[in-house]
Subunit: 346 residues, 2 copies
Amino acid sequence: METNPRQAKVTMQDVANHVGVSRTTVSFVLNGGTGNGIPEETRDRVHQAVSELGYRPNAGARALASKQTKLYGLITEIVIAPYAANIVRGAEEQAAREGKTLLIASTDGSSDADRRAIETMLEHRVEGLIYATSWHRGVRLPAVAEEVPTVLVHCFDEATKLHSVIPDEAQGGYVATMRLIGAGHDRIGLINLDPVIPAAIGRRAGYVRALEQAGIGLDESLVINEDGEADQGYRAAVALLDGSRPPTAIFCATDRMAMGAYDAIKERGLRIGDDISVVGFDNQEVIANYLRPSLTTVALPFQQMGATGVAMLAKLAANRDLAPLQRIVECPLVERTSVRLPVAAS
Amino acid sequence: METNPRQAKVTMQDVANHVGVSRTTVSFVLNGGTGNGIPEETRDRVHQAVSELGYRPNAGARALASKQTKLYGLITEIVIAPYAANIVRGAEEQAAREGKTLLIASTDGSSDADRRAIETMLEHRVEGLIYATSWHRGVRLPAVAEEVPTVLVHCFDEATKLHSVIPDEAQGGYVATMRLIGAGHDRIGLINLDPVIPAAIGRRAGYVRALEQAGIGLDESLVINEDGEADQGYRAAVALLDGSRPPTAIFCATDRMAMGAYDAIKERGLRIGDDISVVGFDNQEVIANYLRPSLTTVALPFQQMGATGVAMLAKLAANRDLAPLQRIVECPLVERTSVRLPVAAS
DNA sequence: GCGCGTTACTAACGCGCGTTAGTGGATGTG
DNA sequence: CACATCCACTAACGCGCGTTAGTAACGCGC
């Protein structure tokens, strides 16, 4: 196991010479299964030479000869929005399972940066491409992406030609609202996002469905749309709490808005998880975990989406011209302490 | 500029045939400068054929022939601690400037995951390695890393054999404290981290130096060590505020602890940025930006450290056996609104 | 007409490896 | 003893490209 510190790279031929066989034999031992008629003893000698010399296959040469790089490309704006980094994690893990290596590049989302990143990946002959965004939206990839199987993660193709993996926003909104209903609330505020984006549409739909199912009438005065940031959550919460018939629970479409809502609530002397309940969305750890009390919220299944994306890509690469399909991944509720316990009488 | 959607890959030979010259000529046109005696007209025809056929050089083949991959490897636990993702961003930008591509892999920090990641990079024949951590500490890389130039970012080699880029924690602690002194404070609490880790040592050193320089005596009762999380920041702030002679300003060694301190301060009816000032450390955007009032804090220069790491690597790769050197990068103060304005009378 | 320097290319090798088609020897079969 | 099988291997090609050494054609001076 001598690791041959910084010398000329040892090749397969070196191993062959060392053992006294041909390079072909070494190749068979290292790649072929037990199928080739090579006796155990020779195999052992080869393996020993490999570790003695510190031989390491050259991925580039191997790719050239075998015509498969075992590379998948992952392009993402994650670096800009780090909280979605688990997409990368999930993708990497799944790639490892498939025996692939991920080539990761970041983009600022501009189509120019996208194109350059894709170009680089294609030069490296990736066998497939994953494009992941930090927020759920429609995208349109540069034409070059069509040269290779592509899967979108946390976004979808506006031309609906590409496969994609997206979160089930509606189900997320539903479980969040149901959690509050289950705790005995029947006046539940919704601080939502800009109502044209997919996240807002879905989360609201889930909210509405939960209310309906519980036989609670939808009160539009309890729904406020904002842009997702903390100070807007604060403003919206103030509006709700200072209204004529304030809610006893608030579902915030982002944890950041929940953070702002917390301030408004505390200012009014109310105790969260007691006098009033709050549920967030995003499971942004730094916020949800460290708010006082910690925030019950709905998680975007980043890791799972990343893994699913890679798995889909593997299928797609094996069988091109598969009809574009959209995989929807569930958003689990993450229980913490901002929702009061269910009580007998509301 | 037809992009040849998913057909057999076009090679340099195809371009040559299309133009009616040899492959060598094409290679000269694409790689060589204007040095080779190839007339403008031929060059044009080659370039046109390239874009007509959608030719794209094969990075693997090119690496094989030229014996340089132009790949740098970046190994990081960033995915675990996304707030440090700017290291990746800085590294990528600098790599692009150097004409290199980054091969990124994540690790959970276990030496086993490290080794596997490094192994993969070496198979791809990276020309150098960057190892970045999410928190400032000493590390010990697996022996395989010695086969290739390596630079550590946000960490240092316990055996002091490897180059590294680390943040100037002491200077960071200094500017933070100076900012508070400049605002007229002379009783300044420090909620620090576990005093054995580099971040805590440095930040405290900076704090002490600033006090000394201002002629303020160090009061150990104003210094509390905790583990960095919000609830501990809360506890520590309570202890400080409820003491006999409470501070009028608090320097928190993490933004998360500042977040907890905010709660303690607000509970006591004090107004941050007015009755009392707070400075954090880390510039963790989700927190610092959205706390109310927003948090003045010290930033870890992740992006710059990433870029510096790559730049050092480039130098190192050009000139191996350079004495291991340690580059220290300044931590800038990020001004927000949690420090009161300087007043005439303290 | 001959030697010589340019100009504009090309033939051919090798990078490290996967893979196909074979080869020489040992063993079994009739 | 001729012949077919297996066993254990090897020669050789080609993947796409960079690069070195060389060549053919042309113009120029003498």
